[in-house]
């Protein structure tokens, strides 16, 4: 009886709105009432990562505003010749669609994870990893193309020298994030496939039992990678 009452209190009767924020953040209790520590820490990590990418985009903005030399036109720089005509930004557009698709499959993997559908979860996660790897492959192609055309961190044939350093720094860091995500996706997919989260098998590194929530935490990271690309696409490629 006491427990029901308390459960009721902790779930339903907590104040909402601004009053709820004050109540949740007040001292001597945990601030995030219905979020596990794993999920909360992933969110806080993502917040710190937001600042990292925010600073990259800020420094890019500063460099681009403060240079007297015209900035190279990304629409032309990233155009591809397909079937005899130049199509602007086409590779970047395809990369965007690939990454969004991978976010969609990841969201569905999380959903099937909570439904305890091991097979579908693992397959969707591996599909997500495959799309992520495709993205990194296309990025490698793009880097190769630009490097052969003479883009360097200290200069390029078309305009402001800072273009190269901004490009390599921002897309390089993002690509690294995608690569790490692909590796972790494969690791978590393997755990799902083997049924680690059903049998409570301890993890090889933490020795703790995983739960299907791990899939969602993995998903948070992956969606964040997609999210960063949304901003890079807008500010670096389209602006």
């Amino acid at each position: 009886m006491a427990e029901t009452t308390l459960t009721h209190t902790s779930q339903m009767d907590r104040p909402q709105g601004l009053r709820g924020i004050a109540a949740d953040w007040a001292s001597d209790q945990r601030a995030f009432k219905n979020v596990s520590w794993g999920k909360a820490m992933m969110w806080i990590f993502l917040l710190s990562d937001t600042f990292i990418f925010g600073c990259f985009l800020l420094s890019y903005m500063t460099a681009r505003i403060s240079t007297r030399v015209p900035w190279p036109n990304p629409s032309e720089v990233f155009a591809l010749r397909i079937g005899g005509s130049e199509i602007p930004l086409i590779l970047i557009a395809i990369m965007t669609f690939v990454l969004i698709s991978s976010s969609g499959t990841m969201a569905m993997a999380v959903n099937f994870g909570y439904r305890r559908d091991r097979r579908k979860t693992a397959i969707l996660m591996l599909l997500t990893a495959a799309l992520g790897a495709t993205f990194v492959g296309m990025q490698a192609f793009e880097w190769t193309k630009l490097i052969t055309e003479g883009v360097r961190p200290w200069g390029n044939p078309w305009g402001a020298a800072q273009f190269g350093s901004c490009f390599f720094m921002i897309t390089g860091f993002h690509g690294t994030h995608v690569t790490i995500g692909v590796i972790f996706l494969i690791i978590v997919a393997r755990k799902v496939w083997r049924g680690d989260f059903d049998t409570g098998r301890p993890g090889f590194f933490t020795s703790r039992r995983g739960r299907y929530e791990n899939v969602e935490i993995m998903g948070l990271y992956w969606h964040f990678v997609d999210l960063v690309w949304v901003f890079i696409f807008a500010f670096f490629y389209l602006w």
């Binding site: 709105g17 596990s36 937001t50 925010g54 505003i65 403060s66 007297r68 629409s75 698709s101 999380v110």
Partner: protein
């Protein structure tokens, strides 16, 4: 009566442990119909296509910038709210995560002034661009 008192006492003594167990039980996960994700996915495709078309049709000036920013914010909002399930979190969580990045805009404003000043001094000393 005695039992009730003991129970009451026990409840008080156990309160912190009790509370932790209950909070752990209250940790919720999100289950939504697959259709929701498919709809959001479709919208992300549409919005990405729109922002690509802004470049394809060569729009420029304030029209271009405002369209890019609108499509960007809509996409980011959909990803954070639905795919990352932020829409269903408590407000304490939303504010803790979403408020700090918004404060970065102050930094943006500072750097815009700084960069404009740098450009001004460069033009003053080296003349307008080559």
């Amino acid at each position: 009566m005695a039992e009730a008192t003991a129970n009451g006492l026990g409840q008080h003594a156990l309160h912190p442990a009790h509370d932790a167990a209950i909070v752990a039980k209250a940790e919720t996960h999100q289950e939504h119909p697959i259709k929701l994700y498919l709809v959001v996915w479709a919208w992300l495709f549409i919005l990405s296509t729109c922002s690509y078309l802004v470049d394809y049709f060569g729009l420029h000036g304030y029209l271009r910038w405002s369209l890019i920013l609108i499509f960007m914010m809509l996409k980011a909002g959909l990803i954070v709210a639905v795919f990352m399930h932020m829409a269903w979190e408590r407000l304490a969580m939303m504010y803790a995560i979403i408020l700090p990045p918004i404060l970065v805009l102050v930094f943006v404003a500072m750097m815009v002034f700084e960069a404009d000043y740098t450009l001004l001094t460069r033009i003053a000393f080296f003349g307008p661009g080559p």
